[in-house]
Symmetry: C2
Subunit: 278 residues, 2 copies
Protein backbone atom coordinates (compact mmCIF):
# COMPACT_ATOMS: atom_id res chain seq x y z
CA UNK A 1 0.00 0.00 0.00
CA UNK A 2 1.37 3.34 -1.07
CA UNK A 3 1.06 5.86 1.71
CA UNK A 4 2.91 8.77 0.14
CA UNK A 5 0.98 11.33 -1.86
CA UNK A 6 2.76 13.66 -4.26
CA UNK A 7 1.38 17.12 -4.83
CA UNK A 8 2.53 20.05 -6.91
CA UNK A 9 1.48 23.40 -5.46
CA UNK A 10 1.45 26.81 -7.03
CA UNK A 11 1.63 29.66 -4.57
CA UNK A 12 -0.73 32.48 -5.52
CA UNK A 13 0.65 34.54 -2.67
CA UNK A 14 2.55 33.66 0.49
CA UNK A 15 -0.76 32.55 1.94
CA UNK A 16 -2.80 30.87 -0.76
CA UNK A 17 -1.93 27.93 -2.97
CA UNK A 18 -3.58 25.56 -5.41
CA UNK A 19 -2.32 21.99 -5.37
CA UNK A 20 -2.55 19.19 -7.89
CA UNK A 21 -2.04 15.57 -6.93
CA UNK A 22 0.51 14.06 -9.30
CA UNK A 23 1.34 10.55 -10.36
CA UNK A 24 4.86 11.56 -11.16
CA UNK A 25 7.18 14.42 -11.95
CA UNK A 26 8.24 13.76 -15.52
CA UNK A 27 10.88 16.44 -15.82
CA UNK A 28 12.62 19.29 -14.04
CA UNK A 29 15.12 21.36 -15.92
CA UNK A 30 16.84 24.68 -15.38
CA UNK A 31 17.34 26.38 -18.74
CA UNK A 32 19.21 29.60 -19.51
CA UNK A 33 15.97 31.47 -18.92
CA UNK A 34 13.82 29.68 -16.42
CA UNK A 35 12.99 26.51 -14.55
CA UNK A 36 10.63 24.12 -16.29
CA UNK A 37 8.76 21.32 -14.54
CA UNK A 38 6.43 18.79 -15.98
CA UNK A 39 3.97 16.75 -13.94
CA UNK A 40 1.56 13.96 -14.67
CA UNK A 41 -1.48 15.08 -12.67
CA UNK A 42 -4.55 13.03 -11.84
CA UNK A 43 -7.18 15.60 -12.77
CA UNK A 44 -5.63 17.75 -15.48
CA UNK A 45 -3.36 15.36 -17.36
CA UNK A 46 0.12 16.64 -18.07
CA UNK A 47 0.92 19.99 -16.50
CA UNK A 48 3.74 22.31 -17.55
CA UNK A 49 5.03 24.80 -14.96
CA UNK A 50 7.58 27.54 -15.54
CA UNK A 51 9.26 29.01 -12.47
CA UNK A 52 6.62 27.30 -10.37
CA UNK A 53 3.60 28.73 -12.16
CA UNK A 54 1.20 26.67 -14.23
CA UNK A 55 1.56 27.45 -17.94
CA UNK A 56 -0.75 24.85 -19.34
CA UNK A 57 -2.42 21.57 -18.55
CA UNK A 58 -3.54 18.98 -21.04
CA UNK A 59 -7.22 19.25 -20.07
CA UNK A 60 -7.85 22.97 -19.81
CA UNK A 61 -5.28 24.51 -22.19
CA UNK A 62 -8.05 24.96 -24.74
CA UNK A 63 -9.58 27.83 -22.77
CA UNK A 64 -6.44 29.96 -22.73
CA UNK A 65 -5.48 29.14 -26.30
CA UNK A 66 -8.93 29.74 -27.73
CA UNK A 67 -9.28 33.00 -25.86
CA UNK A 68 -5.90 34.44 -26.81
CA UNK A 69 -6.36 33.65 -30.52
CA UNK A 70 -10.06 33.55 -31.43
CA UNK A 71 -10.97 36.80 -29.72
CA UNK A 72 -8.60 39.03 -31.73
CA UNK A 73 -9.14 36.90 -34.85
CA UNK A 74 -12.88 37.54 -34.79
CA UNK A 75 -12.49 41.24 -33.95
CA UNK A 76 -10.55 42.12 -37.06
CA UNK A 77 -12.37 43.88 -39.90
CA UNK A 78 -10.32 41.99 -42.46
CA UNK A 79 -9.91 38.24 -41.98
CA UNK A 80 -6.38 37.82 -40.50
CA UNK A 81 -3.96 35.95 -42.73
CA UNK A 82 -0.65 36.60 -41.01
CA UNK A 83 0.30 36.37 -37.37
CA UNK A 84 3.27 36.87 -35.11
CA UNK A 85 3.35 34.92 -31.85
CA UNK A 86 5.77 36.09 -29.14
CA UNK A 87 6.37 33.27 -26.68
CA UNK A 88 3.92 30.42 -27.15
CA UNK A 89 6.70 27.84 -27.37
CA UNK A 90 4.28 25.05 -26.57
CA UNK A 91 2.66 25.51 -29.98
CA UNK A 92 -0.89 25.88 -28.68
CA UNK A 93 -1.53 29.41 -29.93
CA UNK A 94 -0.11 28.54 -33.37
CA UNK A 95 -2.27 25.43 -33.55
CA UNK A 96 -5.38 27.44 -32.89
CA UNK A 97 -4.45 30.06 -35.51
CA UNK A 98 -3.73 27.34 -38.07
CA UNK A 99 -7.15 25.91 -37.35
CA UNK A 100 -8.65 29.31 -38.07
CA UNK A 101 -6.97 29.40 -41.47
CA UNK A 102 -4.10 31.82 -40.82
CA UNK A 103 -1.67 31.07 -43.64
CA UNK A 104 1.54 32.64 -42.40
CA UNK A 105 2.69 32.47 -38.79
CA UNK A 106 6.00 33.52 -37.28
CA UNK A 107 6.43 32.14 -33.76
CA UNK A 108 9.31 33.63 -31.78
CA UNK A 109 10.11 31.71 -28.60
CA UNK A 110 13.14 32.61 -26.53
CA UNK A 111 13.66 29.23 -24.87
CA UNK A 112 14.28 26.28 -27.20
CA UNK A 113 13.72 23.91 -24.29
CA UNK A 114 10.05 24.86 -24.07
CA UNK A 115 9.66 23.77 -27.68
CA UNK A 116 11.58 20.53 -27.17
CA UNK A 117 9.54 19.65 -24.10
CA UNK A 118 6.29 20.41 -25.87
CA UNK A 119 7.31 18.24 -28.84
CA UNK A 120 7.83 15.35 -26.47
CA UNK A 121 4.95 15.80 -24.04
CA UNK A 122 2.33 17.86 -25.90
CA UNK A 123 2.78 16.59 -29.47
CA UNK A 124 -0.68 17.78 -30.54
CA UNK A 125 0.26 21.36 -29.71
CA UNK A 126 3.85 21.23 -30.97
CA UNK A 127 2.68 19.75 -34.28
CA UNK A 128 2.17 23.38 -35.30
CA UNK A 129 5.90 23.71 -35.71
CA UNK A 130 5.95 21.01 -38.39
CA UNK A 131 3.32 22.84 -40.39
CA UNK A 132 4.76 24.65 -43.42
CA UNK A 133 2.57 27.69 -42.63
CA UNK A 134 4.36 28.21 -39.31
CA UNK A 135 7.94 29.39 -39.00
CA UNK A 136 9.54 28.89 -35.58
CA UNK A 137 12.33 31.23 -34.56
CA UNK A 138 14.26 30.65 -31.37
CA UNK A 139 15.15 34.14 -30.25
CA UNK A 140 14.21 37.25 -28.42
CA UNK A 141 10.75 38.53 -29.31
CA UNK A 142 11.62 42.16 -28.66
CA UNK A 143 14.65 41.96 -30.95
CA UNK A 144 12.54 40.33 -33.58
CA UNK A 145 9.85 43.00 -33.46
CA UNK A 146 12.48 45.75 -33.48
CA UNK A 147 14.26 44.38 -36.56
CA UNK A 148 11.42 42.86 -38.55
CA UNK A 149 9.99 44.75 -41.46
CA UNK A 150 7.06 42.41 -41.97
CA UNK A 151 3.58 43.56 -41.03
CA UNK A 152 1.15 41.22 -39.31
CA UNK A 153 -2.62 41.05 -39.02
CA UNK A 154 -2.31 39.65 -35.50
CA UNK A 155 0.40 39.84 -32.87
CA UNK A 156 -0.17 37.42 -29.99
CA UNK A 157 1.91 38.04 -26.88
CA UNK A 158 1.67 34.63 -25.25
CA UNK A 159 4.23 35.23 -22.54
CA UNK A 160 4.91 34.16 -19.00
CA UNK A 161 4.20 36.63 -16.22
CA UNK A 162 6.28 39.83 -16.09
CA UNK A 163 9.19 38.38 -14.17
CA UNK A 164 12.46 37.24 -15.68
CA UNK A 165 12.67 37.25 -19.47
CA UNK A 166 9.08 38.39 -20.01
CA UNK A 167 9.16 41.67 -18.11
CA UNK A 168 9.91 43.88 -21.13
CA UNK A 169 7.01 42.33 -22.99
CA UNK A 170 4.67 44.27 -20.70
CA UNK A 171 6.18 47.67 -21.47
CA UNK A 172 4.73 50.64 -23.30
CA UNK A 173 7.82 50.70 -25.55
CA UNK A 174 7.27 47.14 -26.68
CA UNK A 175 3.59 47.71 -27.45
CA UNK A 176 4.60 50.78 -29.47
CA UNK A 177 7.04 48.68 -31.48
CA UNK A 178 4.27 46.15 -32.05
CA UNK A 179 1.97 48.95 -33.26
CA UNK A 180 4.53 49.64 -35.98
CA UNK A 181 4.45 46.03 -37.11
CA UNK A 182 0.68 45.79 -37.53
CA UNK A 183 -1.13 45.83 -40.84
CA UNK A 184 -4.09 48.14 -41.20
CA UNK A 185 -6.82 46.87 -38.85
CA UNK A 186 -4.26 44.56 -37.23
CA UNK A 187 -4.64 43.66 -33.55
CA UNK A 188 -2.15 43.01 -30.74
CA UNK A 189 -3.27 40.89 -27.82
CA UNK A 190 -1.44 40.13 -24.59
CA UNK A 191 -2.24 37.88 -21.69
CA UNK A 192 -2.42 40.38 -18.85
CA UNK A 193 -2.59 38.30 -15.69
CA UNK A 194 -5.11 37.62 -12.96
CA UNK A 195 -7.17 40.74 -12.27
CA UNK A 196 -7.41 39.50 -8.69
CA UNK A 197 -3.94 38.31 -7.61
CA UNK A 198 -1.87 40.19 -10.19
CA UNK A 199 -3.42 43.61 -10.43
CA UNK A 200 0.00 45.13 -11.09
CA UNK A 201 0.49 42.89 -14.14
CA UNK A 202 -2.90 43.88 -15.47
CA UNK A 203 -2.19 47.55 -14.82
CA UNK A 204 1.19 47.34 -16.60
CA UNK A 205 -0.36 45.76 -19.68
CA UNK A 206 -3.36 48.05 -19.77
CA UNK A 207 -1.37 51.20 -19.10
CA UNK A 208 1.13 50.28 -21.83
CA UNK A 209 -1.60 49.46 -24.32
CA UNK A 210 -3.56 52.70 -23.84
CA UNK A 211 -0.38 54.66 -24.45
CA UNK A 212 0.46 52.71 -27.60
CA UNK A 213 -2.98 52.36 -29.20
CA UNK A 214 -6.05 54.52 -29.77
CA UNK A 215 -8.28 51.45 -29.35
CA UNK A 216 -7.88 49.13 -26.36
CA UNK A 217 -10.20 46.43 -25.09
CA UNK A 218 -9.94 44.18 -22.05
CA UNK A 219 -11.58 40.81 -21.78
CA UNK A 220 -11.55 38.00 -19.25
CA UNK A 221 -11.86 34.23 -19.14
CA UNK A 222 -12.34 31.61 -16.53
CA UNK A 223 -9.26 29.34 -16.38
CA UNK A 224 -9.43 26.86 -13.50
CA UNK A 225 -5.68 26.17 -13.26
CA UNK A 226 -4.54 29.83 -13.25
CA UNK A 227 -4.42 31.97 -10.09
CA UNK A 228 -7.94 32.78 -8.86
CA UNK A 229 -9.43 31.02 -11.89
CA UNK A 230 -9.95 34.39 -13.53
CA UNK A 231 -7.70 35.75 -16.27
CA UNK A 232 -7.42 38.92 -18.31
CA UNK A 233 -6.35 39.67 -21.86
CA UNK A 234 -5.76 43.11 -23.36
CA UNK A 235 -6.12 43.91 -27.06
CA UNK A 236 -4.86 47.03 -28.81
CA UNK A 237 -5.31 48.27 -32.34
CA UNK A 238 -5.07 51.35 -34.52
CA UNK A 239 -8.57 50.55 -35.79
CA UNK A 240 -11.84 50.02 -33.97
CA UNK A 241 -12.32 46.40 -32.92
CA UNK A 242 -15.78 44.91 -33.26
CA UNK A 243 -16.96 41.34 -33.31
CA UNK A 244 -17.52 39.96 -36.80
CA UNK A 245 -20.72 38.22 -37.71
CA UNK A 246 -19.59 34.68 -38.36
CA UNK A 247 -17.46 32.96 -35.78
CA UNK A 248 -16.47 29.39 -35.15
CA UNK A 249 -17.30 27.79 -31.83
CA UNK A 250 -14.57 26.39 -29.64
CA UNK A 251 -15.02 24.37 -26.49
CA UNK A 252 -15.02 27.63 -24.51
CA UNK A 253 -15.17 30.42 -27.07
CA UNK A 254 -18.40 31.20 -28.88
CA UNK A 255 -20.40 34.15 -30.13
CA UNK A 256 -21.76 34.85 -26.64
CA UNK A 257 -18.34 34.87 -25.03
CA UNK A 258 -17.07 37.14 -27.82
CA UNK A 259 -19.44 39.71 -26.38
CA UNK A 260 -19.76 38.86 -22.68
CA UNK A 261 -16.03 38.52 -21.97
CA UNK A 262 -15.67 42.30 -22.36
CA UNK A 263 -18.16 43.02 -19.59
CA UNK A 264 -15.97 43.64 -16.57
CA UNK A 265 -16.70 43.55 -12.86
CA UNK A 266 -16.70 46.89 -11.10
CA UNK A 267 -13.32 46.41 -9.41
CA UNK A 268 -11.73 46.03 -12.85
CA UNK A 269 -13.61 49.01 -14.30
CA UNK A 270 -12.29 51.06 -11.38
CA UNK A 271 -8.72 50.03 -12.23
CA UNK A 272 -9.29 50.78 -15.88
CA UNK A 273 -10.77 54.22 -15.32
CA UNK A 274 -7.94 55.17 -12.98
CA UNK A 275 -5.41 54.20 -15.64
CA UNK A 276 -7.30 55.99 -18.43
CA UNK A 277 -7.38 59.16 -16.34
CA UNK A 278 -3.61 59.26 -15.94
CA UNK B 1 10.98 31.57 15.58
CA UNK B 2 7.77 29.86 14.65
CA UNK B 3 8.40 27.02 12.23
CA UNK B 4 4.92 25.58 12.00
CA UNK B 5 2.56 26.84 9.32
CA UNK B 6 -1.16 26.26 9.59
CA UNK B 7 -3.18 25.82 6.42
CA UNK B 8 -6.83 25.11 5.77
CA UNK B 9 -7.42 23.22 2.54
CA UNK B 10 -10.59 22.65 0.62
CA UNK B 11 -10.53 19.60 -1.61
CA UNK B 12 -12.13 20.31 -4.98
CA UNK B 13 -11.74 16.67 -5.88
CA UNK B 14 -9.52 13.88 -4.56
CA UNK B 15 -6.71 15.43 -6.55
CA UNK B 16 -7.01 19.21 -6.39
CA UNK B 17 -7.16 21.50 -3.41
CA UNK B 18 -7.01 25.18 -2.57
CA UNK B 19 -5.25 26.09 0.66
CA UNK B 20 -5.35 29.18 2.82
CA UNK B 21 -2.66 29.95 5.37
CA UNK B 22 -4.33 30.68 8.67
CA UNK B 23 -3.29 32.52 11.80
CA UNK B 24 -5.64 30.46 13.88
CA UNK B 25 -8.69 28.26 13.86
CA UNK B 26 -11.25 30.24 15.79
CA UNK B 27 -13.94 27.60 16.04
CA UNK B 28 -14.90 24.08 15.10
CA UNK B 29 -18.34 22.81 15.97
CA UNK B 30 -20.51 19.89 14.97
CA UNK B 31 -24.12 21.00 14.89
CA UNK B 32 -27.23 18.87 14.31
CA UNK B 33 -26.86 19.53 10.62
CA UNK B 34 -23.22 20.03 9.70
CA UNK B 35 -19.71 20.79 10.77
CA UNK B 36 -18.80 24.45 10.96
CA UNK B 37 -15.22 25.74 11.04
CA UNK B 38 -14.00 29.27 11.29
CA UNK B 39 -10.47 30.37 10.39
CA UNK B 40 -8.56 33.60 10.59
CA UNK B 41 -6.75 33.58 7.23
CA UNK B 42 -3.92 35.83 6.15
CA UNK B 43 -5.27 36.80 2.72
CA UNK B 44 -9.04 36.63 3.02
CA UNK B 45 -9.73 37.61 6.61
CA UNK B 46 -12.17 35.40 8.48
CA UNK B 47 -13.28 32.33 6.58
CA UNK B 48 -16.36 30.23 7.34
CA UNK B 49 -16.37 26.62 6.14
CA UNK B 50 -19.27 24.19 6.34
CA UNK B 51 -18.46 20.49 6.00
CA UNK B 52 -15.03 21.50 4.75
CA UNK B 53 -16.19 23.80 1.96
CA UNK B 54 -15.69 27.56 1.98
CA UNK B 55 -18.99 29.38 2.48
CA UNK B 56 -17.69 32.88 2.76
CA UNK B 57 -14.62 34.90 3.51
CA UNK B 58 -14.53 38.41 4.86
CA UNK B 59 -12.77 39.86 1.81
CA UNK B 60 -14.58 38.31 -1.14
CA UNK B 61 -18.08 37.61 0.22
CA UNK B 62 -19.31 40.71 -1.59
CA UNK B 63 -19.09 38.99 -4.97
CA UNK B 64 -21.36 36.10 -4.07
CA UNK B 65 -23.80 38.23 -2.11
CA UNK B 66 -24.07 40.94 -4.74
CA UNK B 67 -24.53 38.40 -7.49
CA UNK B 68 -27.20 36.32 -5.76
CA UNK B 69 -29.28 39.39 -4.84
CA UNK B 70 -28.68 42.22 -7.29
CA UNK B 71 -29.06 40.14 -10.41
CA UNK B 72 -32.65 38.98 -9.74
CA UNK B 73 -33.47 42.33 -8.12
CA UNK B 74 -32.58 44.22 -11.30
CA UNK B 75 -34.31 41.70 -13.58
CA UNK B 76 -37.74 42.16 -12.10
CA UNK B 77 -40.28 44.25 -14.01
CA UNK B 78 -41.72 45.59 -10.76
CA UNK B 79 -39.25 46.78 -8.10
CA UNK B 80 -39.09 43.93 -5.56
CA UNK B 81 -40.40 44.82 -2.12
CA UNK B 82 -40.62 41.43 -0.45
CA UNK B 83 -38.13 38.58 -0.34
CA UNK B 84 -37.75 35.11 1.06
CA UNK B 85 -34.23 33.84 1.73
CA UNK B 86 -33.74 30.10 2.18
CA UNK B 87 -30.45 29.48 3.97
CA UNK B 88 -28.29 32.57 4.14
CA UNK B 89 -27.82 32.26 7.88
CA UNK B 90 -24.78 34.51 7.77
CA UNK B 91 -27.03 37.47 6.96
CA UNK B 92 -25.12 38.58 3.86
CA UNK B 93 -27.93 38.10 1.34
CA UNK B 94 -30.38 39.90 3.64
CA UNK B 95 -27.95 42.77 4.12
CA UNK B 96 -27.64 43.26 0.39
CA UNK B 97 -31.42 43.17 -0.09
CA UNK B 98 -31.92 45.69 2.72
CA UNK B 99 -29.43 47.95 1.00
CA UNK B 100 -31.48 47.70 -2.17
CA UNK B 101 -34.58 48.87 -0.31
CA UNK B 102 -36.48 45.60 0.10
CA UNK B 103 -38.90 46.34 2.92
CA UNK B 104 -40.01 42.88 4.01
CA UNK B 105 -37.63 39.92 4.23
CA UNK B 106 -38.24 36.48 5.67
CA UNK B 107 -34.99 34.57 6.17
CA UNK B 108 -35.38 30.86 6.92
CA UNK B 109 -32.16 29.21 8.11
CA UNK B 110 -32.17 25.63 9.32
CA UNK B 111 -29.11 25.83 11.58
CA UNK B 112 -29.26 28.36 14.41
CA UNK B 113 -25.54 27.91 14.97
CA UNK B 114 -24.74 29.52 11.61
CA UNK B 115 -26.60 32.60 12.76
CA UNK B 116 -24.92 32.66 16.16
CA UNK B 117 -21.48 32.29 14.64
CA UNK B 118 -22.17 35.02 12.12
CA UNK B 119 -23.37 37.35 14.87
CA UNK B 120 -20.10 36.86 16.66
CA UNK B 121 -17.63 36.80 13.76
CA UNK B 122 -19.35 38.60 10.87
CA UNK B 123 -21.36 41.24 12.77
CA UNK B 124 -21.71 43.44 9.66
CA UNK B 125 -23.55 40.66 7.86
CA UNK B 126 -25.58 39.41 10.82
CA UNK B 127 -26.72 42.96 11.60
CA UNK B 128 -29.48 42.22 9.05
CA UNK B 129 -31.20 40.10 11.66
CA UNK B 130 -31.56 43.09 14.00
CA UNK B 131 -33.27 45.12 11.28
CA UNK B 132 -37.02 45.37 11.77
CA UNK B 133 -37.55 44.74 8.03
CA UNK B 134 -36.02 41.27 8.33
CA UNK B 135 -37.66 38.37 10.12
CA UNK B 136 -35.39 35.42 10.93
CA UNK B 137 -36.97 32.00 11.24
CA UNK B 138 -34.92 29.04 12.40
CA UNK B 139 -36.48 26.14 10.57
CA UNK B 140 -36.69 24.05 7.47
CA UNK B 141 -36.96 26.09 4.29
CA UNK B 142 -38.94 23.44 2.42
CA UNK B 143 -41.49 23.22 5.23
CA UNK B 144 -41.76 26.97 5.27
CA UNK B 145 -42.37 27.22 1.54
CA UNK B 146 -44.88 24.39 1.70
CA UNK B 147 -46.92 25.97 4.49
CA UNK B 148 -46.53 29.67 3.82
CA UNK B 149 -49.33 31.54 2.10
CA UNK B 150 -47.34 34.72 1.60
CA UNK B 151 -46.18 35.63 -1.89
CA UNK B 152 -42.72 37.06 -2.49
CA UNK B 153 -41.17 39.20 -5.19
CA UNK B 154 -37.85 37.39 -4.76
CA UNK B 155 -36.93 33.97 -3.43
CA UNK B 156 -33.19 33.56 -2.86
CA UNK B 157 -31.97 30.00 -2.36
CA UNK B 158 -28.66 30.70 -0.65
CA UNK B 159 -27.89 27.13 0.30
CA UNK B 160 -24.88 24.91 0.79
CA UNK B 161 -24.09 22.35 -1.91
CA UNK B 162 -26.59 19.54 -2.50
CA UNK B 163 -25.27 17.24 0.19
CA UNK B 164 -26.79 16.79 3.64
CA UNK B 165 -29.63 19.13 4.55
CA UNK B 166 -29.50 21.10 1.29
CA UNK B 167 -30.11 18.28 -1.18
CA UNK B 168 -33.88 18.75 -1.46
CA UNK B 169 -33.35 22.44 -2.20
CA UNK B 170 -32.06 21.43 -5.64
CA UNK B 171 -35.16 19.43 -6.59
CA UNK B 172 -37.81 20.09 -9.21
CA UNK B 173 -40.49 19.69 -6.54
CA UNK B 174 -39.01 22.42 -4.40
CA UNK B 175 -38.71 24.84 -7.31
CA UNK B 176 -42.35 24.11 -8.17
CA UNK B 177 -43.37 24.95 -4.62
CA UNK B 178 -41.37 28.17 -4.89
CA UNK B 179 -43.16 29.01 -8.14
CA UNK B 180 -46.42 28.92 -6.18
CA UNK B 181 -45.05 31.42 -3.65
CA UNK B 182 -43.99 34.05 -6.18
CA UNK B 183 -45.84 37.27 -6.86
CA UNK B 184 -46.51 38.18 -10.45
CA UNK B 185 -43.14 38.86 -12.10
CA UNK B 186 -41.40 37.38 -9.05
CA UNK B 187 -38.05 35.62 -9.48
CA UNK B 188 -36.43 32.61 -7.80
CA UNK B 189 -32.65 32.38 -7.83
CA UNK B 190 -30.44 29.53 -6.64
CA UNK B 191 -26.70 29.18 -6.35
CA UNK B 192 -26.06 26.25 -8.68
CA UNK B 193 -22.45 25.29 -8.08
CA UNK B 194 -19.22 25.33 -10.04
CA UNK B 195 -19.88 24.63 -13.72
CA UNK B 196 -16.45 23.03 -13.80
CA UNK B 197 -16.09 20.83 -10.71
CA UNK B 198 -19.78 20.39 -9.89
CA UNK B 199 -21.49 19.85 -13.20
CA UNK B 200 -24.00 17.53 -11.55
CA UNK B 201 -25.06 20.28 -9.14
CA UNK B 202 -25.50 22.69 -11.99
CA UNK B 203 -27.47 20.13 -13.98
CA UNK B 204 -29.76 19.37 -11.01
CA UNK B 205 -30.54 23.04 -10.49
CA UNK B 206 -31.01 23.81 -14.17
CA UNK B 207 -33.05 20.71 -14.89
CA UNK B 208 -35.31 21.44 -11.91
CA UNK B 209 -35.75 25.08 -12.88
CA UNK B 210 -36.68 24.41 -16.52
CA UNK B 211 -39.35 22.00 -15.35
CA UNK B 212 -40.77 24.45 -12.84
CA UNK B 213 -40.59 27.71 -14.82
CA UNK B 214 -41.29 28.89 -18.35
CA UNK B 215 -38.42 31.39 -18.07
CA UNK B 216 -34.98 30.31 -16.86
CA UNK B 217 -31.66 32.14 -17.05
CA UNK B 218 -28.19 31.04 -16.01
CA UNK B 219 -25.43 33.44 -15.07
CA UNK B 220 -21.92 33.10 -13.73
CA UNK B 221 -19.50 34.98 -11.54
CA UNK B 222 -15.85 34.80 -10.70
CA UNK B 223 -15.41 33.93 -7.00
CA UNK B 224 -11.76 33.33 -6.08
CA UNK B 225 -12.42 31.26 -2.94
CA UNK B 226 -14.96 28.86 -4.49
CA UNK B 227 -13.98 25.72 -6.44
CA UNK B 228 -12.39 26.63 -9.79
CA UNK B 229 -13.06 30.32 -9.13
CA UNK B 230 -16.12 30.11 -11.38
CA UNK B 231 -19.65 29.91 -10.05
CA UNK B 232 -23.14 29.58 -11.50
CA UNK B 233 -26.53 30.90 -10.49
CA UNK B 234 -29.87 29.91 -11.99
CA UNK B 235 -32.96 32.17 -12.04
CA UNK B 236 -36.51 31.09 -12.78
CA UNK B 237 -39.70 33.07 -13.21
CA UNK B 238 -43.20 32.89 -14.60
CA UNK B 239 -42.50 36.19 -16.38
CA UNK B 240 -39.79 37.19 -18.81
CA UNK B 241 -36.69 38.50 -17.02
CA UNK B 242 -34.92 41.49 -18.52
CA UNK B 243 -32.41 43.91 -17.05
CA UNK B 244 -33.97 47.14 -15.85
CA UNK B 245 -32.56 50.46 -16.87
CA UNK B 246 -31.29 51.89 -13.61
CA UNK B 247 -29.07 49.76 -11.46
CA UNK B 248 -26.82 50.42 -8.53
CA UNK B 249 -23.16 49.52 -8.77
CA UNK B 250 -21.62 47.11 -6.30
CA UNK B 251 -17.95 46.28 -5.94
CA UNK B 252 -18.44 43.47 -8.47
CA UNK B 253 -21.93 43.91 -9.88
CA UNK B 254 -22.66 46.64 -12.40
CA UNK B 255 -24.69 47.27 -15.53
CA UNK B 256 -22.11 45.49 -17.70
CA UNK B 257 -22.05 42.38 -15.51
CA UNK B 258 -25.86 42.38 -15.50
CA UNK B 259 -25.57 41.64 -19.20
CA UNK B 260 -22.24 39.82 -19.61
CA UNK B 261 -22.74 37.30 -16.81
CA UNK B 262 -25.41 35.55 -18.91
CA UNK B 263 -22.99 34.89 -21.77
CA UNK B 264 -21.88 31.33 -21.18
CA UNK B 265 -18.86 29.40 -22.41
CA UNK B 266 -19.56 26.69 -24.94
CA UNK B 267 -19.15 23.80 -22.51
CA UNK B 268 -21.97 25.26 -20.39
CA UNK B 269 -24.17 25.91 -23.41
CA UNK B 270 -23.70 22.27 -24.36
CA UNK B 271 -24.87 21.17 -20.91
CA UNK B 272 -27.82 23.53 -21.07
CA UNK B 273 -28.98 22.43 -24.51
CA UNK B 274 -28.76 18.76 -23.53
CA UNK B 275 -30.95 19.44 -20.50
CA UNK B 276 -33.44 21.52 -22.47
CA UNK B 277 -33.79 18.72 -25.01
CA UNK B 278 -34.77 16.13 -22.40
Amino acid sequence: MRLIENWFSERYSDNVQLSFRVRDQLLSVKTDYQRIDLFDTYDFGKLLAIDGTVQLTEYDEYIYHEMITMMPFFHSVRKPETALIIGGGDGGAARSLLGLGVRDIVNVEIDSQVVEISKKYFPELAASFSDRRCRLIIGDGIDYVRKSEQKFDLIIIDSTDPEGPAVSLFSREFYEMCAGRLSESGIVVAQSGSPFYQRETFRMAYDGMVHAFPHVKVYTAFIPTYPSGFWSFTMGSNSAMNPVKDMVRGKYFNQEIAEGAFKLPQFMLDDVSTLKGK
